[in-house]
Amino acid sequence: MPRAHLMSDHRRFTDGEAVIEVEGLTVGAVIAELERRYPGLGEILTNGSSAGVDGVIHAEPEYLVIGPDTDVYFVAPLAGG
């Protein structure tokens, strides 16, 4: 099952849990399931996060297809100079 790795700020929704196993074929599906379990978290993950998957940070990961054993790291959005 995919594992969602949450930043410390996200864990206020999950009672401190940092890594949560979540069913989903895409990052968007993972976010939707997290929102169902932890209302409010989905909004932050959708609009305030990027996702690191297989070593690559994706700015808009909603439709990114993931495998059954994927680690999804939700991280703050990035910008550059």
Partner: protein, 740 residues
């Protein structure tokens, strides 16, 4: 000097041809935004707030509108109110105040007139009544209990609260058990640090010319790092469809992150729309310093624990970024930039804090230099205290592939260790420290980013090529695009013309930021060229009368058994008869940007009578992945270093109590010039990024991260002073020496 891992032998990649944009710049033919003039053009100027924070009670523009030569006047009322939560709401507020001015220099009206003098006179005739509000200029004032609000519009990002706040963001990061780790540590050092606002200092001020026609469509010529963003932001601020706007990128005279947002274009567009004439606006240097984004100032508390043999076991820290009058992402990014050392136990909080100062903006690796200054200073003190070599301590703790970043995700293949080894093995580090001088070491990390890019490659009938992209060239990307195309197509790099096209002539391309142009736009060029080569092989098969599978592409020619090689120009000459023009467009959203590390070494001398710090020798090693055009890579490394030296030694915003910047000129805001510095020696480290066809990582930003700590660590060894506040200007050094 280059330190290279094993890689394929390239013919063009890694060479140093004369840059394609060089001739125009050398002879003055290159056209910057301020060089453009249109028939009937008006000149636009701003009226800017003299107050640091005030409610606008009334604006009376009637006298200004009646003055000679005046054709149009606009205020905030001429722009739509963007809804709360709109991503460009703060952009709109920052470029034209609505109801409240938030800093000295905040624009609140603009005038277009036949001459600049007439426009300035009219702007001065606009009558404004203000109701003054409390002015908050420092982080400490802003976060104090009961502090007045800097900007009633601000909400702390993703806090879930709808209450106005002076906090832009709060980003905690945590792993392991720092309390237990500090308890078990042999050495714990905790220090506080402070850095000033600093400006990117690009030589070319912001400028644009906008012509809105009777059909309501706008032509914009602008200096920016991303003309597609100019288009989208201008459309959002005006409430227009994007299709009404065409943006042509002018040559750019420096950006460094500061030209990733807009300050002028919607105002010029509205003035042009009202007057029916083209409008040109060119900022003065004073305006650039007072009203465009500097990098945030910062305060930090950093505590690091170590074993007696130099293993870093824990870090705990708080970093506050002073982001100016509107919200931005500085705090988010700052927290995540702590990524260079293994630190099994980590607890960080990064906070963005608002003040009544200009909205801050990106400056190369945004937010990373402030964090690195603090952390690298403490690590240096740990090495000193334990009697260990500063590079050995860093090598012992340096992250490698698979180690976690601050946000937990494992690092991909990176070259931090290789950069440390390159400095350790350098002539500089192996040489004795000059008499009367001292040596410092510092390091830096930056993510780099990918994002969206497009490229079109056209093969001309004589076998030359045009490579068209949408990435403004702020650091040599045209030459890099041409080199990668030459490698793919197998033709001379000077038979290729790289072009940066307007928003109607090339596919969407994100801003040139995050060291992404050579990485991401380069990938689009490579993809287009590879598709073209497949088409060339098919055309050659038609000409030769063989199956296309029987054709290889070798060194710019189609090769098939029992046939003479068919060079590219022989195929393009027959394009009409074999299927028509040879042109391919490729677009992508590039993933896999390779993080880049840099390690710096410098020797300084400190004059204890004047407090002057002189940089005697400076060497930088940086992982470029693969250097496409090494001279440009070296230029980026040197440029970032020099800007970091300015940040370390001289540059700062000096504000009066009312929020007026007191040093808004290059005379008083002192950036380094050539005579201040030695030649910056460079070592390009090449640990190829596996996610790019040539291994590119991007090099534009990391170089500015290490200099502040590198110089502070050298100053410490020279004087015994652990300087914790930047800049280390002569008065600051003298004051510290007097307290020693």
């Amino acid at each position: 000097m280059t330190v290279t891992e094993d890689r394929p032998a390239y013919k063009w990649v890694g060479t140093r041809p004369i840059r394609h944009d060089g001739y125009d710049k050398v002879v003055g033919k290159a056209r910057f935004a301020a060089d453009l003039n249109l028939p009937g053009q008006l000149h636009g100027v701003f009226l800017r707030s003299p107050h640091g924070h005030a409610r606008i009670v009334s604006i009376d523009t009637s006298a200004a509108e009646a003055m000679p030569g005046v054709k149009a006047v606009v205020t905030g009322d001429d722009f739509p109110e963007l809804a709360a939560g709109d991503p460009e709401r703060d952009t709109a507020i920052n470029l034209m105040a609505r109801g409240v001015v938030l800093y000295v220099g905040h624009a609140l009206a603009a005038v277009a007139a036949s001459t600049r003098a007439e426009a300035l006179a009219a702007a001065a005739a606009i009558e404004v009544e203000y109701d003054l509000l409390p002015v908050i200029l420092s982080l400490d004032e802003s976060i104090a209990d009961g502090a007045p609000l800097v900007n009633e519009d601000n909400r702390t990002a993703f806090s879930g609260s709808d209450e106005p706040s002076n906090l832009a963001s709060v980003t905690p990061l945590e792993r392991g058990d720092v309390d237990a780790a500090f308890e078990a540590a042999d050495l714990v050092i905790e220090r506080e640090f402070e850095t000033s606002w600093v400006h990117q200092g690009y030589i070319e001020p912001h400028a644009c010319v906008v012509d809105v026609g009777a059909d309501g469509k706008a032509d914009i010529w602008a200096s920016s790092q991303g003309h597609f963003r100019v288009r989208s932001q201008t459309a959002a601020v005006l409430g227009w469809d994007t299709a009404r706007i065409k943006v042509t990128p002018a040559e750019i005279g420096g950006g460094f992150g500061g030209k990733t947002t807009i300050y002028l274009e919607p105002v010029a567009a509205r003035l042009s729309e009202k007057s029916g004439r083209p409008v040109k606006i060119v900022m003065t240097r004073d305006e650039v310093l007072r009203a465009t984004g500097p990098a945030p100032g910062s305060k930090a508390r950093i505590r690091i624990g170590a074993t007696s043999d130099g293993e870093l076991t824990a870090i705990e820290g708080w970093i506050g970024y002073v982001v100016g009058c509107v919200n931005n992402m500085a705090g988010f990014i700052g927290a995540m930039s702590v990524a260079s050392y293994k630190f099994p136990n980590l607890k960080l909080e990064a906070v963005g804090v608002l003040t009544n100062t200009p909205a801050s903006a990106a400056y190369r690796a945004p937010s990373a230099p402030q964090a690195a200054f603090a952390i690298e200073s403490v690590i240096d003190e740990i090495a000193q205290t334990l009697g260990l070599d500063p590079i050995d301590v860093r090598l012992k703790n340096a992250v490698v592939e698979g180690d976690p970043t601050a946000m937990g995700m494992p690092h991909p293949r990176i070259g931090f260790v290789e950069c440390l080894e390159a400095i350790r093995d350098s002539d500089h580090y192996g040489s004795p420290v000059p008499e009367g001088a001292a040596r410092g070491i510092g390091t830096g990390f930056w993510f780099n980013i990918g994002e969206q890019s497009s490229a079109t490659v056209n093969l001309n009938e004589d076998g030359t090529a045009t490579v068209i992209t949408g990435s403004p060239d702020i650091g040599g990307s045209r030459a890099s695009m041409a080199l990668m195309a030459a490698e793919e197509l197998g033709i001379d790099v000077h038979r290729i013309t790289p072009v940066v096209a307007d928003t109607e002539s090339v596919g969407f391309t994100d801003v040139t930021e995050g060291s992404r142009a050579t990485f991401a736009t380069g990938m689009a060029v490579v993809n287009a060229c590879r598709e073209l080569v497949d088409e060339l092989k098919a055309r050659a098969a038609t000409i030769m009368g063989v199956d296309s599978e029987a054709v290889d592409w070798i060194d710019g020619a189609a090769v098939a058994e029992e046939h003479d090689p068919l060079p590219l120009d022989a195929i393009t000459a027959k394009a009409k008869g074999t299927g028509g023009p040879l042109t391919v467009t490729a677009s992508l959203n590039a993933g896999g940007a390779g993080p880049s590390f840099a390690v710096h070494c410098c020797d300084v001398a400190v004059d204890e009578e004047t407090g002057q710090v002189t940089v005697l020798r400076y060497t930088t090693a940086q992982d470029a992945g693969t250097a496409i055009h090494p001279s440009y890579v070296e230029g980026q490394m040197q440029g970032g270093t020099v800007q970091g030296i300015g940040w370390a030694l001289n540059e700062e915003y000096v504000y009066g109590e009312d929020g007026t910047m007191l040093n808004a000129s290059f005379l008083d805001y002192r950036v380094p010039v050539a005579s201040d510095l030695p030649m910056i020696e460079t070592i390009i480290v090449e640990v190829p990024n596996p996610a790019h066809p040539y291994g590119v990582r991007g090099v534009g930003e990391t170089g500015i991260v290490p200099p502040m700590s590198t110089i502070a660590n050298a100053v410490n060894r020279a004087t015994g002073l652990r300087i914790s506040a930047l800049p280390m200007s002569p008065p600051a050094i003298l004051a510290a020496l007097n307290e020693r």
